[in-house]
Symmetry: C2
Subunit: 332 residues, 2 copies
Amino acid sequence: MIDGTNKSLSRNSSPIGAGGLAFVTVQCPATVANLVCGFDILGMALTEPCDIMKLKLINDPKVIITNKDVYNLPTEAERNVAGVVLLSIMEKMDNQFGFEVEIEKHIKPGSGLGSSAASAAGAAVAANHLLGNIFSTDELVQFAMNGEKLASGVKHADNITPCILGGVTLIRSIHPLDIIKLNAPALFVTVVHPQIEVKTSDARQILRKEVLLKDAIKQWGNIAGLVAGFEKGDTDLIGRSLEDVIIEPVRSILIPGFDEIKTKSKEAGALGGGISGSGPSIFMLSKEESTAKDVELIMKEIFTRLGIEFKTYVTTINKSGVEVMKDVRGTM
Amino acid sequence: MIDGTNKSLSRNSSPIGAGGLAFVTVQCPATVANLVCGFDILGMALTEPCDIMKLKLINDPKVIITNKDVYNLPTEAERNVAGVVLLSIMEKMDNQFGFEVEIEKHIKPGSGLGSSAASAAGAAVAANHLLGNIFSTDELVQFAMNGEKLASGVKHADNITPCILGGVTLIRSIHPLDIIKLNAPALFVTVVHPQIEVKTSDARQILRKEVLLKDAIKQWGNIAGLVAGFEKGDTDLIGRSLEDVIIEPVRSILIPGFDEIKTKSKEAGALGGGISGSGPSIFMLSKEESTAKDVELIMKEIFTRLGIEFKTYVTTINKSGVEVMKDVRGTM
């Protein structure tokens, strides 16, 4: 349980309704859920890509949404991820006010890079900032999970938590919520997003409801190793622990080129990696930037050969989570 | 992978066969395997109880065993846990020598406190000491696992590893062997050994071969939390993570009074605990010695009421593992 507010940049911000004109701009990072062996419990924030969201407090108890990107996401609050998060915050505050929100997505929906979490977490952190940071991190995660529920049907927090807190996070338990920020060594992350569709709901449906105890034991050995590796800053241990005997063998079938990318990236010196969230993006961790760039070349070569459009990123672990960019009191 | 020799007190010890009279006495600690949620991967060494073992190098390629206790364990090398470990070391060294061993067990066989591991690990460390510490920790674990194979039919290392290294240890993988020593906070451990029989093989057999994915996810959340708790020295996180939704609900049925002991110990302030290894011993962790003693009273009261004989220990986490007590060159 992480108590207190996380984003306390402006504890002196205007309280609710003070002029009703305050607005804030936040950067909302992409996130990698699961981290290979940590299905549903681990997540990591990335420096790139990230969404930009502007949020303004208004006197009317409604949510007005403008999309500043090419993704044609719904603008009705009840059907929009940021919208439902803001509605849940308004409800908590007895609908004394509303929000106007402008969303500029750079994290493509369906990429497996936490696009919905960026909207949900961004909306929660930005609203909290405008309200004078009255909510704890746990409460922000709870609000933001309403957005994940809309996006995927499940109230999961493995993208939201790293998006809000930055770095690498562990969700020990959802009921009751127990989130722990882990130490995150300075590593480079190479990401490739092949432009194919893998729906989270499909990726979840193909998983077996039961697993062999012997596989579960292997998995928890690796999870324990991964957490120890992060906490000790032991990058080789992190690499050895990035093995998934339960989820990846099933889900990777949905991603052409997966095995070849993993094998060649490790041959090129990457510590390891796997599917980002439920895919189709793939991530690889490296100690050196030069290795991360070599891995990018491998990814490009393979998807070019397969004739699949793709986008790559060579980035780092984002340590700060959703970040407040400016806080101008005036019109948006 | 932990390289190098662990017990390097006497790198100058006589090499093989130098007189053939060197002998050593070691203390071999009891261990708690599993640590509730870390089935087959986690283990912890205790300061009490511990066995005493004297080992002497002899010129004849044979193992002569004397038991200095009341347990009537086999004295034929092939049927004795320490014996098979020593035989495997002799074989590795082309049977150039043999051993005479005196074992004084204080860890009752079948207690679930790593009695066989203490014999196996003690024999491996003591022999290595006499041979001039020529084997790495990984090799010692491999030798010692031959003893566990004899005792339980399975080459498991979750008692052996903490017995050799001390503290809290993680076995990320058995094939290949990958052992990691975790940070162990200064905690008190209360142990009760009810004098009932639970065979490791039975305790293993009643487990289901398959587990629900949703339970496995809960379990690895707790394992991740427990490892993070140890590494961060966060005792409350350790307490919250000491939950087992897979093994304990099945195995605890074999131990009368288990639920009551757990509930009342936590009410008295214990962080948490559970079955030690495959039982029947139960352990509880506490921050304060006074709490650990209150927990002991609870355990005594419950087993007295149930009419089951028992033995209790209030002890600490042993940080050093198998310890060399004296190293006299002479006759045993």
